[in-house]
Subunit: 212 residues, 2 copies
């Protein structure tokens, strides 16, 4: 077989990709405020299921953008999600991305309390000052603990991006966060991931950043 | 709706997840050497499509494990893939994970040659000494340049993990690498990603590491 590459300039690839996504979404009408998020997640995964599974509390995108413009910090549950977030954009806005999974204090707390580092890292993040966005792409235990902390009045995230992936308590953890009363963007079902968490953060960041 | 969490100890979640994956794969019979890789990718994505799309050159898994046991370095095309690779396991084997996307020399070379950083980062990695594994989860341009470098005799990877995701030249870049003559693990079609690249590396690493 002769493989034939398409002639598309590197700088044009992203634009062309979003065109293809728009074409293939066809009849699916996305709400205007959600469109950039949904399309960026499909761009990151090539998985059109997300057009159906991503769900948003009312005004979640607008609230996330507003928080980022106030310099919100983004707390992730994996180094991978943190690595995928556009740091130049975030730093222009005065924010930063944090992950406490490799933190020694968190490792110690998890051991002492017989819990997971994911849980302990949420507890450490909950006491941070200033506006917070949580982006959970891996551990349902992190999302469940975050739900409890919200109900206990110990943290009030400006937005929770709840997109852990997997087979045990993943579906349930996302449904819990939808009942927490805080703004959310959730991928219902089993699918999600650190890449999805980062893609959602970036879709918000690109909208939040000042026009050049 | 009352959300009910399953009672599974954190330490049991991964084992239980792999059980569920095995059950749901049902009739699909995976070759013994490929099973751990395919299941780990499904564990990372909750996407059973990979049972169908992942393809392996003869002996690719065994060759990858052998290279890791010789201290192979893993070169990725994103910081995200690098972040997702199990560094403790890799370092026990004497390897390391490298990504040159943020390298200043690479940025300069890309600018001077009117190419992408993904392409320039492959050129920089090609001259590294010792056994190399490439894990490409994002940029088809990186995979295409790697194919050319292999054909030009400038690099001889011990394994290429070719799993970029997307809509432009992604499918084609993977088919090219399958014709390169080097051992490969490729996710045919549009799907893939940095998370998939890291998951494949980890599935190999967990098999390569010395028994405790």
């Amino acid at each position: 077989m002769k493989v034939q590459l398409q002639k598309v300039l590197p700088a044009e690839i992203e634009r062309r990709s979003f065109e293809i996504i728009g074409e293939e979404l066809g009849g699916i009408k996305l709400p205007a405020d959600q469109e950039a998020v949904v399309k960026r997640v499909i761009h990151t995964t090539a998985d059109f299921d997300y057009a159906r599974t991503l769900c948003f509390s009312d005004g979640a995108v607008e609230q996330g953008i507003a928080a980022l413009r106030e310099g919100a910090r983004i707390v992730t549950d994996t180094q991978m999600a943190r690595a995928g977030i556009s740091k130049p954009t975030l730093s222009v806005l005065g924010g930063e991305a944090l992950c406490y999974m490799a933190d020694e204090e968190v490792a110690r707390a998890a051991k002492e309390n017989g819990t997971t580092r994911a849980v302990a890292s949420m507890e450490k993040a909950a006491v941070l000052d200033g506006p917070l966005i949580f982006a959970i792409g891996n551990a349902p235990t992190a999302l469940v603990r975050l739900y409890e902390l919200i109900l206990e009045g110990k943290v009030a995230p400006r937005l929770v991006i709840g997109v852990p992936v997997g087979f045990v308590n993943v579906v349930e953890s996302k449904e819990l966060i939808r009942e927490s009363g805080v703004p959310y963007i959730v991928a219902r079902g089993r699918k999600g991931g650190s890449n999805v968490a980062a893609a959602i953060c970036n879709a918000l960041l690109y909208q939040a950043k000042p026009r050049e």
